[in-house]
């Protein structure tokens, strides 16, 4: 018999989060991606992070561009708001939505093709503006949806499933992000949920633009020998530099700092990200140090992962531009519309 729907089942003793929901309340439609696609694993990690943070789905916004990765917003949190935009235009839509309602949690989901080719300019400016969102860049080195052409993230020497090796220099999303002012820069792997879920939680709670570059293998077009984005290759060269745990505001903070390797970063909501440095001499709060470390690792096969850089002090777009902290539709008309006199005054300023 044909059945391919995940039944919704409430087990006995099923754990609930702080708002009484179970994990499957954060599920979406059944995925139509290829079996084994890394993106599905990232979807599961996003669902789990929202569940663990006990965010009401209707208080969240999912935005995406075009690509297999961008399709995945449909596959989690079906009760959240969402918009699949046109190719590469997700950052602009997210920025506009943020201006209209800064009181929601924003997650953008995109791929290396959507983000680093057609959408590169959009991405860079959202980072510069420090839009308060988490941007998931599901990176498989190819355009999966259009059958596996190299993307701008393909490493030099990585071979296509059929055909030759890539010869052009890759764009490293983390190096890019560090160079244009992103305030939360992380790298992870779809095959390491433990790390990924923690990073997503931290990224969602970070006030400002957070980007996670997630290696997420394309099983159909880029999981072969010779590919640097395959499961095998990633598992082999995967390296954890910094470990990040998100600790919610209410929880008692019990980390031990005395060895000098664990560093608490206080967030705007009162929560804390506990950073545990796994590499000596690495300071994830120092942009230059992070930048050189990322460039350095780019010279080798090593895949540097973890929360590579964090800056909680730079103002996000909403704060800097003094935009309303709540939804425009909750502000009454008189306040929202300053009236003809104000307008005339404003025009004079530029007179």
């Amino acid at each position: 018999m044909v059945s391919f729907t995940k039944p919704k089942i409430r087990r006995k003793n099923e754990p609930t989060n702080d708002i009484g929901l179970i994990r499957s309340d954060y599920d979406g439609a059944m995925s139509t991606l290829c079996a084994g696609c890394g993106h599905d694993s990232v979807t599961a990690a996003m669902g789990r992070a929202f569940f663990e943070l006990a965010i009401e789905p209707y208080r969240a916004v999912k935005v995406s561009g075009i690509g297999c990765s961008s399709k995945t917003t449909t596959y989690f949190m079906s009760q959240a708001h969402g918009n699949n935009t046109v190719h590469g235009r997700m950052p602009a839509v997210a920025t506009g939505a943020m201006a209209a309602n800064a009181d929601l949690t924003y997650i953008g989901v995109s791929g290396d093709g959507d983000s680093l080719s057609i959408g590169l300019g959009q991405l860079v400016h959202a980072m510069r503006r420090n839009v308060n969102m988490l941007y998931m860049l599901e990176n498989n080195g190819v355009y999966g949806l259009t059958k596996g052409q190299f993307s701008a993230a393909a490493d030099i020497g990585s071979t296509a499933k059929k055909g030759g090796a890539n010869e052009m220099a890759p764009i490293d999303p983390c190096a890019l992000a560090l160079s244009v002012g992103a305030t939360f820069v992380a790298r992870s792997f779809s095959g390491d949920k433990e790390q990924l879920v923690n990073l997503i939680k931290a990224g969602l709670k970070h006030k400002g633009f957070a980007i996670i570059d997630v290696t997420s293998p394309c099983v159909s077009f880029n999981d072969h020998k010779g590919s640097t984005k395959s499961y095998e290759h990633t598992f082999k060269y995967y390296h954890k530099a910094v470990h990040a745990d998100y600790v919610p505001p209410s929880a008692e903070i019990r980390a031990s700092y005395e060895d000098g390797e664990t560093m608490p970063i206080e967030l705007h909501d009162g929560g804390v990200i506990n950073l545990r440095k796994l590499d000596n001499g690495y300071d994830p709060t120092d942009r230059a140090s992070a930048f050189s470390k990322v460039l350095e690792s780019g010279q080798s096969d090593e895949i540097l992962t973890g929360l590579l850089y964090i800056d909680e002090t730079t103002k996000d777009m909403t704060t800097r531009k003094n935009l309303p902290k709540r939804a425009l539709n909750t502000i009454d008309y008189a306040e929202l519309n300053p009236g003809a006199n104000k307008m005339a005054g404003l025009m004079k300023e530029f007179g």
């Binding site: 391919f4 994990r23 079996a35 696609c37 599961a44 095959g191 082999k236």
Partner: protein, 598 residues
Amino acid sequence: MKPTDTSDPDYFHKVVDCQWACPAHTPVPAYIRLISQGKYSDAYMLNRASNVFPGILGRVCDRPCEPACRRTRVEEEPVAICRLKRVAADHRGDITDRLPKKPKNTNGKKIALVGAGPASFTVANDLAPLGYECTIFEKFEKPGGLMRTNIPAFRLPEDVLMEELGYILDMGVDLKLGSPVNSMKELLKEGYDAIFVGTGAAKGKDLRLPGRDEASNIHIGIEWLESVAFEHIEKIGKKVLIIGVGNTAMDCCRTSLRLGANDVKVMARKPRAFFKASPWELEDAEEENVEILVNHSPKAFVHKGGRLTGMTFDLMEYDIDSSGRIVDQKIVGETTIPCDDVILAIGQNNAFPWIEETCGIEFDKWDVPVVDKVTFESTQKGVFFGGDSAFGPLNIIWAVQHGHEAAISIHKYCQGESLTERRPDKLTLEPTKMGMFEWSYNNSFDDSERREMDHVALTERFASLGTEVELGFSPEKIATEVQRCLNCDMQTVFDAPKCTECDACIDICPVECLTLAPPAEEAVLREAVSAANDDQALFISDELKFTGRVMLKDEDVCLHCGLCAERCPTAAWDMQEGIVTIHHAGDQELDEIFEAAE
């Protein structure tokens, strides 16, 4: 940490909770699938191979499978396994030509079977087709044992019983009715090659309280039911007290209602949580307006000039601790309840007045025979016990299982083979993948609730003792109930070298029973996948090629939905039908033929 050895036939067998819990290991999901395909006769035959009496057991089995059923992990009620067994029996066609036949020639070996209950009948069922000359000696004029004498006809109609006993008699079994065996010593002299004792444990316990010897109208439940079955007793007083709250008590109270009583009280010494009766038997009695009084401890029989007028009880109060055990009790008062009759239903014992001390059959200090738990042989070579006579009162399905095992032993004994060298159970795995999103079973989860049995209306059912109360399942109920079964025999089989650790199975699993973790002690791994039920296995794979982690699966909560296998890009997970073979007497020869051919 040791990787799980799934080649141990018990591993996957144990996953099929119902089959594992069934003493005869009836392949429940397989017969439920046959029912779902309308193959009732096949479903009946598959049942029969394990439990011999699907029509009988489909009505009155103690159903240890149901509390074990996996369905109870996702909702309250198990699959109505027993009811579906009756469906197979009710809707079967003529299966007589599919039954084992009386062989043309006997093998010259003579077996005496004492008592015509389910245990002896199972032994005969297994041995007669192999050529053994089986003779059953029964003291009563009718066969069936307690199934006839104690289980009332409104639960188990006589024709259902007779038909299934008849199948076995037709295999050339000689049934000698009205033939009590009065001396084991004599029987041993009669030249039988082996003797099977299946005489049950039908001695009801008495209650020695003041007034017991003086008062009339006090009945021992088992004997009373027997007299009713043989129509020696046809009525009872209006007010009846039943002492005890086990299954015998339930049959006594309901039978009383059919013999003219209109005020029947079941008197329990302890609170409801301590009742011995099966929940469904309690439910059926209460539906018939039987009143159950708790915390009444019998004290004395009250009588007037030898005529019973009532019974006195101590009123009890119990202290129960958090784990539900009684830690203290006290008497808080006394009450006398008037009645016309009292029926004692407080338990039964074995009794073997006909087995002489000099027969070489040892008994323990409770007068229970010393019987080997594997071979069912007594301390006298060639004399085997099974059913209630072996280890005290159990139920029909255990009697059947004992019968199968004793038959294997008798066969081996008569062939001069070692009784203890028994063939191990076998498990074979068959592929079930039919195509994309397609398996040979219905893998979708059906969230329907358990179907209820329809009953004859209360206004009609008391007219005659033989009116069967349960009506069986309607077609709609059959169609729904079969889909509630999760097909637990569709096993998740993991091939570690194929796994690329993509997490697809982990993410799709609707009950989160899979994960990957670094190798560690089982206790640590159990935590990694929140496997809380230690009674159920944790599957631990070999170390995986990319990271050296292991795949874990908590067998406790798996729904056998197949989504893990559907999602797996390399078919490292596969759904395979696990077919358990439990050996019966005679499989031996077949197996040897197959092995020789291989």
